[in-house]
């Protein structure tokens, strides 16, 4: 049986119990040692509880309801903010490029870089405020009434629409959806698409997202033309998917200094797989992920949990998921409840619709989304307000809002 040193306890104030070297060795190897039938004689043994340790050392016991004797004074205790650290941080991706960065934008934006889950300000501040890009279409599209009323004068004129989005609605970026290239719609050529993008570039000086039509073959051709026509502008190419020629697309994105949106259908393993394939041609700092957004009521819970898990796993060390996330929040409008004229108790849809989009957006904001692709100006305004507040670093005016009970409303 190993003897512990008898008076090793109180040599100096800061010296703890000395363990023999064999014990230490064994401890290092096995992490835990059990001594049976232990006996120790001590002349004097001091056990010191450092400040703050008590919460961890004290055995947890149920505090008894002391019958008959009631506490008169408040039992003070400190709340310990449960701060954690993570193995990893989320990659930062720059979008858009200023003149000195090789492009023509007034400013560029950076997304990602987070070191904590979304808005865990008690741990660390948000690195980059989430960014909003507004949808602009390159041709007439059917829009819900709630949206159309705000953009009816600019539909069909992408440059004017982009201007409105930035100047009036405060978008940080603009997404130019080139749906006219769809072979089933206008089958516009890559050259046509390049012209459209040029017009939008001239109209606004914010970074751009280039949206395709969803046809894997046509998109690949059009994206190539656009990437080559505007090298250095650092567009976000929306998007590269598994059914495209990933190598070809990633190569021209990289060659021309753009960034790629890696888009997968609601499956983290597929997301990781696509990113793995992209790493052969793109840098980590060139990839934003779109894990698919489903509308409130039509799968939002799947999208939310997917994104929350991706963000947490990215922070915990899964590099393939440690990318900034984008959300196609406009998908909220796929829900009938967003645009349908319902019975009187659910009206007006002019408010219900954008609130549907806002609710979708805020849910995903709290999952860690860094870039929002949105539609309705009111939704955009609210999201901007909320992200500004959340990153303001301001303290709440507690006393102002403490007494809601007596408010006359």
């Amino acid at each position: 049986m190993t003897q512990l040193p008898q008076d090793g306890a109180k040599k100096k104030e800061d010296e703890g119990l000395k363990l023999s070297s064999d014990l230490l060795e064994a401890l290092a190897k096995f992490q835990q040692i059990e001594l049976e039938d232990f006996q120790m004689d001590v002349k004097e043994l001091e056990i010191i509880f450092e400040p703050g340790m008590a919460g961890q050392i004290m055995p947890k016991i149920k505090l008894p309801g002391i019958a008959g004797r009631k506490t008169t004074a408040m039992l003070q205790t400190a709340f310990v903010p449960p701060v954690e650290t993570y193995a990893n941080k989320i990659t930062e991706v720059r979008l858009g490029a200023t003149r000195s960065e090789g492009g023509t934008r007034g400013k560029s934006v950076v997304v990602g870089g987070e070191t904590s889950p979304a808005f865990y300000n008690f741990e660390r501040p948000t690195t980059h405020k989430p960014v909003i890009t507004l949808d602009v279409f390159d041709m007439e599209v059917p829009l819900s009434k709630a949206v159309k009323m705000h953009v009816k004068d600019v539909v069909g004129d992408p440059a004017a629409w982009a201007k409105l989005a930035v100047n009036k609605f405060g978008a940080d970026m603009v997404t130019i959806h080139l749906i006219s290239i769809d072979p089933l719609l206008k089958d516009a050529t890559p050259k046509d698409a390049v012209k459209t993008v040029e017009k939008v570039l001239q109209a606004v000086d914010v970074p751009l997202v280039i949206g395709g039509c969803g046809d894997p073959v046509k998109d690949a051709d059009v994206f190539e033309a656009i990437c080559e026509a505007f090298p250095g502008e650092r567009f976000l190419i929306s998007s590269i998917t598994r059914d495209m020629d990933v190598e070809r697309c990633a190569k021209y994105v990289k060659k021309n200094g753009h960034a790629a949106l890696s888009f997968t259908p609601m499956d983290l393993n597929l997301a990781k797989e696509l990113n793995r394939r992209l790493y052969d041609f793109l840098g980590r700092e060139d990839i934003v992920m779109d894990l698919t957004t489903a509308a409130l009521g039509y799968g939002l819970d799947y999208a939310f949990t997917n994104m929350e898990r991706a963000r947490l796993n990215g922070l915990l060390g899964d590099m393939e998921l440690a990318h900034p996330m984008s959300s196609g929040t406009t998908n909220a409008w796929a829900a009938r409840e967003a645009w349908l004229k319902m019975s009187a108790e659910w009206e007006p849809r002019e408010l219900r619709g954008p609130l549907w989009e806002v609710t979708t957006a805020l849910t995903l904001l709290l999952a860690g989304v860094d870039l929002f692709m949105m539609m309705h100006p009111a939704a955009v305004k609210t999201l901007k307000d909320v992200t500004n507040y959340l990153t303001s670093g301001k303290k709440a005016d507690a006393s102002k809002f403490a007494d809601w009970v007596t408010v006359k409303a």
Binding site: K60, L63, G65, I66, K70, T71, M74, L75, T77, F79, V80, P81, P82, F119, Y120, N121, F122, L184, L296, G297, Y298, G299, D301, F304, T305, E308, L312, A334, E337, W346, R349, L351, R352, L355, W356, V358, T359, L362, T363, L366, D385, V386, Y389, L390, T391, S392, G393, K394, K395, A396, D397, A398, K400, F401, A402, W404, T406, V407, K408, A409
Partner: protein, 474 residues
């Protein structure tokens, strides 16, 4: 077999529970064996209180051991009595993907003691009538919060009495003045309302009320978490154990602190081992009505609604709101349903025949799985393109098409049975069915079993319109 002590929810095995059960297989709980009962308990589909032998005095030690083992990180607090009683909290995990959330956020809408009785009655009726059918669930509002804006004990008592006569919904009685609150309690002594609230000034009086009337008590400490847990500790020592925490809800610039506080408290309870934080959390989106000034009411309701949404996502177990319009409450009630859906169980819609547009005897017939997302995607494609068609929803236990085929939940037998059960034979003249492209593997089997001619359709429902134009002929 192991004697190891299990801590995390994840590691809880039915064996751990079984070891503390009577092991006599008496079947009084409704299961054939104690092991079966143990499995249901671990899945949170049964409660240890359903085991009569366990409730006997000689088994008290085992009962307590099980209660401790199964204790949720966030205490479950019941408000109200009887059928309409509402359970708050009881959360087992911080993130829903770790298991599932339980006890959806309760929504309480307010009335005040300065409203005329008829106004109170109308408002309550309106709240009770709120109802929305959503994938087989009926979305409703849950509680009435009675606020004392008058500060007058008699007025408050009268209002509470009126409210209790009008509705059986559980109540939240709101006043920081214990005299006023007590008056309200005297009107509903057995109703077990939630008392709002104990503050650092009035906690002792509020504690007395809570003990006297056996009510759960809200502990309020706006933006001061140390004070909050100190009050919790104190109240627990005092003997009040059913607590709800109000860390303060602050709009606009106060959002970061609000989100922070809720997040910290929930994490402290579930992962930080701070038991004092282990109680349900109350959010008050109606703070947006403070300092309203000239702001349009719709804007206030908008802000209240989005604040409520954020709190549903960030751990609020109960919300107090003022705006009660359909347009502003619908998104939150749907969101609440979504967040509280059990992520382990695939969402399924009811199987059966669905009609789109105005189909006739020559219209196309298709089938799909009953996985909610699949169904809604297909339905949306059919609707938005204004197609006239019949869609048979086949029971696949919530599996999508490809995983259903792979996991043998979408089988030719089930499709053939669904076709028969739908009565579609009486609705169309032809005998052709278009099947999802991803179910091509069972195309031949479906033909053989159903007798219908199978056409393999597109793999993605967005191509259905194009497919019908090019390839459909009755």
């Amino acid at each position: 077999m192991t004697e190891k002590k299990k801590t995390g929810l994840k590691e809880l095995s039915p064996i751990d529970v079984y070891n503390s059960l009577p092991k006599i297989n008496c079947k009084e709980c409704g299961e054939a064996t104690c092991m079966a009962f143990a499995m249901k308990i671990v899945n949170r589909e049964a409660n240890i209180d359903q085991c009569p032998p366990l409730l006997k005095k000689e088994n008290a030690k085992a009962y307590n051991r099980l209660k401790e083992l199964l204790k949720p990180a966030v205490k479950e607090v019941t408000v109200g009595v009887g059928d309409t009683a509402k359970k708050l909290g009881g959360k087992l995990v911080m993130y829903r993907h770790e298991f599932t959330y339980v006890n959806p956020t309760a929504i309480a809408i307010d009335v005040t003691d300065e409203m005329a009785p008829q106004e109170v009655e109308n408002r309550i009726k309106c709240i009770e009538n709120y109802s929305f059918e959503y994938i087989g669930y009926t979305l409703k509002l849950d509680m009435i919060a009675v606020r004392s804006t008058s500060g007058d004990a008699e007025k408050f008592k009268a209002t509470v009495k009126k409210v209790a006569e009008t509705t059986k919904l559980p109540l939240v009685l709101c006043s920081l003045n214990s005299t006023v609150l007590e008056a309200g309690l005297m009107a509903v002594p057995k109703a077990r309302p939630l008392l709002y609230a104990a503050t650092k000034e009035n906690w002792k009086d509020m504690a007395e009320l809570a003990l006297m009337y056996s009510c759960p008590l809200v502990v309020s400490s706006p933006n001061d978490m140390s004070m909050l847990v100190s009050m919790v500790k104190t109240l627990l020592a005092y003997g009040v154990s059913d607590l709800v925490l109000d860390p303060g809800t602050f709009p606009n610039e106060g959002l970061p602190d609000t989100i922070n506080n809720f997040t910290m408290l929930r994490r402290a309870a579930t992962r930080g081992g701070q038991e004092l934080a282990g109680f349900p959390l109350m959010g008050v989106p109606m703070v947006t009505w403070i300092g309203k000034g000239e702001t349009a009411e719709d804007l206030i309701k908008w802000r209240e609604a989005y604040l409520a949404a954020m709190l549903v996502v960030r751990y609020a177990d109960i919300l107090v709101m003022h705006g009660n319009d359909g347009w502003s409450l619908l998104p939150i009630t749907v969101l609440r349903q979504n967040i509280y859906t059990d992520p382990r169980k695939p969402q399924a819609v009811a199987a059966g025949l669905k009609v789109f547009g105005n189909p006739d005897e020559n219209s196309p017939v298709m089938f799909t799985s009953n996985f909610a997302m699949t169904y809604y995607t297909v339905a949306s494609d059919l609707e938005s393109n204004k197609l006239n068609a019949y869609l048979i929803v086949v029971e696949t236990e919530g599996s999508a098409i490809d995983s259903g085929v792979a996991g043998r939940k979408l089988t030719a037998e089930r499709v053939a049975d669904a076709i028969k059960a739908s009565g579609i034979e009486n609705k169309v003249k032809h005998r052709k069915i278009i099947i999802p492209g991803k179910a091509s593997r069972i195309s031949g089997e479906i033909e053989e079993l159903s007798g219908w001619k199978v056409q393999v359709g597109p793999r993605d429902s967005s191509e259905i319109p194009k497919y019908l134009i090019e390839k459909w002929q009755p």
